[in-house]
């Protein structure tokens, strides 16, 4: 099937893109890697009049060291994020999660910023970005602003990015030396996660940060478990006991792949496993 007709704009700078967005507003849709957008357009679930392709803006691609943070350009592909040395060294959890996004072909096209801006609660990058306290740099007509991860994810497919704004880069505070693991639970490999847990820990265990995928309308932090783990020793029993609180405050969906109570059970089990693997136990 083919999308409805649209006009295509390919700006070469953020300014151009913003001006196009300002002009077309609601009728426009931003195309980043297109790996979620194109299926939606093909199924005619969305029918924008204008598509603004960010692919020509080279400044949006790339990964750099910015002192206390690693900065990932919004148009950097999952494939490049996964393999980048800076990412592996300082924000290992991001590399681990990027490796689990969809499949090889999708990772070659899909972008880090595009996936986060799409804000699918079953997306693999929201939970690790949230857990690591990422900061989202958003450009608008009046300049750029930075939004903390806690404020970025608003609801199902909804973020703090305004209709006339563009996510340009994501700053992720360095967690150098932290262990990390992304535990994804699926029935078949090409499926969106039924539940996934992003865990990163310092030492074993001084501090733990845990994000949950698909346990509500946005990525969630397992804060009760994080608190219980801080300063605890990384024994299997201790971690599992702390993980018992992982589903607190979650509100997962019920669908063909699992009812809400089962997902909450999974969140507890998978949190324990993710933390233990992150801690190298």
């Amino acid at each position: 099937m083919i999308p409805v007709k649209f006009d295509y704009l390919a700006p070469t700078s953020v300014e151009e893109a913003l001006s196009a967005l300002g002009e077309h507003g609601d009728e426009a849709k931003i195309l980043a890697g297109g790996q979620s957008l194109l299926p939606v357009l093909r199924m005619r679930l969305n029918a924008p009049e204008v598509v603004i392709d960010l692919g020509g803006i080279s400044s949006l691609r790339g990964i750099r060291d910015d002192g206390d943070a690693i900065v990932i350009g919004a148009m950097t592909t999952h494939h490049d994020v996964r393999d980048h040395e800076l990412v592996k060294e300082h924000v290992l959890l991001i590399s681990k999660a990027a490796a689990e996004v969809a499949d090889s072909q999708i990772r070659h096209r899909g972008t880090f910023g595009g996936a986060l801006a799409h804000a699918d609660p079953a997306g693999d990058l929201g939970a690790p970005a949230l857990a690591l306290g990422a900061q989202f740099v958003i450009a608008g007509a009046g300049g750029t602003r930075t939004v903390e991860a806690d404020d970025f994810f608003v609801d199902l497919f909804e973020t703090a990015i305004g209709d006339d704004e563009i996510l340009t880069e994501v700053r992720i505070p360095k967690h150098t030396g932290w262990g990390a693991h992304y535990e994804k639970f699926v029935r078949v490999a090409h499926q969106w996660p039924i539940v996934a847990v992003a865990a990163t820990v310092k030492g074993s265990i001084d501090e733990a940060k845990i994000g949950l995928t698909n346990m509500g309308s946005t990525p969630l932090r397992a804060r009760a478990t994080e608190a219980a783990l801080a300063g605890a020793s990384a024994t299997e029993d201790g971690v599992r006991a702390a993980a018992e609180q992982a589903a607190e405050g979650t509100n997962p969906p019920s669908d063909l792949n699992g009812a809400a109570d089962y997902r909450q059970h999974l969140a507890r089990v998978l949190t324990g496993r993710a933390v233990l693997k992150a801690a190298g136990v």
Binding site: I2, V4, H190, G258, A259, Y262, L266, V269
Partner: protein, 820 residues
């Protein structure tokens, strides 16, 4: 030096690389959707979003005004020339069969049914305009699910007065093939063991990789239809029978066809609409479905509730089996439709010597996509039921599942054996297949590991599943089909002809769509005629090239079509012999034929078949009375089905914390008689296994209460990937049980893997957690279902009241889908 001297000794049994592959691996292909013709127009279908509704009006004005739209047509724009979608197998004389128009004008009976067609210059413009067709519906209550349908409160087709289509019964006591099953059950209740279960065969979608596509060209004297179909010959027949165009004016071509698995064994509304539009507009047209359309509107498979009663004595010797099926036809009785569960009727007794058997099948109509054949068609369902029951019986008796089977199976000395269902199994050796499978699998070691894990209370438990299957395949003896009221025969046709320069053209009525017929048939002809493998060209899938045939399904092409080839080759040799004798000035009785050459016994005089072909072409010198050709046709009608069998062993790991299951090892030892090409056979087995495993673990077509298909894309209808499957251990018995009812000694293999694997997997899953109080997990065995089964009795995992609206409560031994 003649070419024949280069020919290897025997082609049959050799793992020839496929002739088909050179094109397919380089993209030089002719899928129906690749075909473009001058002036060709494109179709887009307007489909009902409602499962059941009266069509009150269709406004096509906006669509007609859309750019490059040529026509917008609905059911009322056509008369009888639109034809009808046929049911070729009314299983009882009083079967209720709703009229099935390709595009009904008044009422739709499932979500996805076509109500209008848009014709435009491009596919994109046709789609754009289809969105503009304004259809008003008066929604009617829809019936979804077998148990709802049986209540007859909401009717799928109100004019029929009931949802019950047909009740088909076989009773061994009445048929004289055995004793009374009810009596056996009564006796077992008093003095033996009775196992009662309800199993659910969830609805599946064949999900061939190539979406269906059809091109119709009305611009020559014969109208031509190219279609992604398994059944070009049956299509031609059905088009003629229902649209008023004489057969002689119809040519149907199945070009490269990307898989079928039964799913392309159908006379579809889309084909009929494309045919009617092309006739109306006198222009070539093309329609290619999207995957979403395919999942929604191409026929589904399985979908039964099986109510089973197995009676046995205290030692586990089965004394009787009673089977009641309720089978969901969906919205219409499709081409084979209700016949699919009836094909299973003869297989519930499987490899066993049951004295008493009763089978009932009630088919019902619902407002869902119509169902029909899917790989195995009736036999996987039967095999699943009996192989699950045999494991339950073993657990009840307290013996190994293989032991309980051995106590009941037909021993190899007992063949030929007439079963309680009335079939005569010609050959088989269940002992040999089982012994070889056990050894290759490492059965005893895995049983030890299982015991250790149970002992330790490991988080991950190990289960071993058994399936000792047989099937009836090679559809089918025409007289048998006639006795079952099937609308066609089961013969197959072949032609063999030599070209002037000595190549061999083979025409078959089978219609391959991935099986490798071109290679395997070339091997058969190369051996039989004594010519090089490379010199044989197999032609098929075009009713002008191969005018007679009954196509490819039911594991029939080799065992029926291959035998027709043998007969045609033999006729060619007989004809050639007369010419050879003439040219060699010898008596025909003094000629020997070997390696493609007639020789005069006791001399070095001879003629190669290729020389005779050239001589026939020239026609300069031939005997009086000889017809000047070396061509021959043959039709073969089998005298019996054939009965491949095998022992499949599966080891599954079950994570008791999450319910996740993982395959550890899978071994199968299939006895399929003579193997023509072991490489192709292995491929058929692998693919069959994964389709059967997928039923056990992943796939389920789910309609919601309103009749909307919830699993309507590959995001929700879960096909496994390479990352979800393992490499299989495929072995065969050392001395296969050669089929006695065809010359080649072959048995079918196309469906074997699918038929056998599903119960092996579920038996393994259940076996892994049986010690935790589990005796069943409904298919597909999702992690959630496994987890709930483990915790059903400890309160850890309550069944959610309404969290999953597609499930209902109140079943015999499991949760059940709305489809039930």
């Amino acid at each position: 030096m003649t070419a024949t001297q280069d020919r290897p000794a025997a082609e049959i049994g050799k793992d020839r690389r496929r002739k088909e592959d050179q094109r397919l691996i380089t993209g030089r292909t002719r899928w129906t959707d690749n075909i473009t013709l001058p002036g060709m127009l494109h179709l887009a279908m307007v489909r009902s979003p409602f499962a059941h509704a009266n069509i009150t009006s269709i406004d096509t004005e906006a669509a007609k005004a859309s750019p490059n739209v040529v026509a917008v047509l609905s059911g009322k724009d056509f008369g009888e020339e639109l034809g009808a979608c046929i049911n070729a197998w009314p299983i009882t004389p009083d079967q209720k069969t709703p009229a099935h128009s390709p595009m009904p004008a008044d009422r739709v009976a499932f979500a996805g049914e076509i109500v209008a067609v848009v014709v435009a210059r491009t596919a994109a413009e046709a789609r754009d305009a289809a969105e503009l067709v304004d259809v008003e519906y008066d929604e009617l209550p829809a019936v979804v699910g077998i148990k709802n349908a049986l209540k007859d409160e909401v009717l799928a087709h109100p004019d029929l007065g009931t949802n019950k289509s047909a009740l088909w019964v076989f009773d061994s006591g009445e048929a004289g093939t055995g004793t009374d099953a009810e009596a056996a059950i009564t006796e077992a209740r008093a003095n033996g063991i009775v196992i009662e279960r309800e199993y659910r065969q969830q609805r599946l979608i064949p999900a061939f990789m190539e979406p269906r596509s059809v091109v119709v060209d009305p611009t020559s004297e014969q109208m031509t239809m190219w279609s992604a179909t398994q059944i070009p010959h049956i299509l031609r027949f059905a088009l003629a029978a229902t649209t008023g165009v004489p057969e002689s004016k119809i040519r149907v071509i199945a070009p490269d066809v990307g898989g079928g698995f039964g799913g392309k064994l159908q006379a579809t509304p889309e084909e009929w609409i494309a045919w009617a539009v092309a006739r109306r507009l006198a222009k070539p047209v093309k329609y290619t479905e999207t995957r979403s359309e395919s999942l929604m509107a191409a026929h589904h498979g399985r979908d039964q509730v099986q109510t089973l009663t197995l009676a046995a004595d205290k030692d586990g010797k089965v004394t009787g089996l009673k089977v009641h099926l309720d089978a969901d036809l969906g919205s219409y009785v499709a081409i084979v439709g209700g016949g699919v569960p009836v094909l299973g009727a003869f297989m519930f007794n499987a490899i066993y010597k049951f004295p008493a058997y009763r089978f009932e099948c009630q088919t019902v109509l619902t407002n869902t996509t119509f169902t029909d054949a899917y790989r195995g068609a009736g036999r996987p369902e039967a095999t699943y039921a009996i192989e699950r029951l045999m494991d339950e019986l073993a657990a009840e008796v307290g013996v190994d599942p293989l032991e309980i089977r051995e106590r009941n199976w037909i021993t190899h000395e007992e063949f030929p054996f007439t079963t309680v269902a009335g079939l005569e199994y010609d050959t088989g050796n269940y002992e040999a297949a089982t012994a070889k499978a056990k050894a290759s699998f490492g059965y005893d070691e895995l049983r030890r590991e299982q015991a250790e894990r149970r002992e330790r209370g490991d988080r991950v438990q190990l289960g071993i599943g058994v399936s000792t299957f047989t099937e009836m395949c090679g559809l089918a003896p025409s007289r048998v089909l006639g006795s079952l009221d099937y609308g066609a025969g089961g013969w197959e046709s072949a032609s063999v002809r030599l070209t002037p320069l000595g190549k061999v053209e083979v025409v078959t009525g089978a219609s391959a769509h991935g099986q490798g017929h071109e290679t395997a048939f070339s091997q058969i002809v190369a051996d039989r005629l004594g010519v090089p493998f490379e010199d044989v060209e197999v032609l098929h899938g075009d009713t002008q090239v191969a005018p007679k045939g009954l196509d490819t399904y039911g594991s029939r092409s080799l065992v029926v079509g291959g035998e027709a080839l043998v007969k045609a080759v033999d006729k060619v040799i007989d004809k050639a012999k007369v010419l050879a004798a003439h040219l060699l000035e010898a008596n025909a009785d003094d000629l020997d034929y070997a390696d493609g050459r007639f020789t005069v016994r006791g001399t070095d005089q001879g003629k190669a078949i290729q020389e005779l072909a050239t001589a026939t072409f020239a026609g300069h010198d031939y005997p009086e009375g000889m017809e000047l050709s070396l061509d021959a046709d043959a039709t073969y009608d089998p005298v019996n089905f054939n009965y491949p069998h095998g022992t499949h062993l599966c080891a599954m790991e079950v994570d008791t914390e999450t319910g996740a299951v993982k395959m550890r090892k899978y071994t199968c030892c299939d006895d399929i008689g003579t193997i023509i090409n072991p490489l192709i056979v292995a491929g058929q087995v692998h693919g069959g296994l994964v389709q059967g495993i997928a039923q056990a673990l992943w796939e389920e077509a789910v309609h919601d209460e309103a009749g909307t298909l919830v699993s309507g894309s590959f995001v929700d209808y879960l096909l496994p990937t390479s990352a979800d499957t393992i490499s299989f251990d495929v072995v065969h018995t050392d001395e296969p049980s050669i089929c006695t009812t065809n010359t080649l000694g072959t048995k079918g293999v196309g469906e074997a893997g699918t038929i056998a694997s599903t119960p092996a997997v579920v038996n393994a899953v259940v076996d892994a957690v049986r010690h935790l109080g589990v005796n069943d997990v409904q298919m597909p065995c999702t992690p959630e279902r496994v987890w709930r089964a483990i915790h059903a009795n400890d309160g850890d995992a309550p069944t959610p009241a309404d969290a999953m609206p597609h499930f209902q409560e109140g079943s015999l031994n499991q949760d059940e889908g709305a489809g039930a």
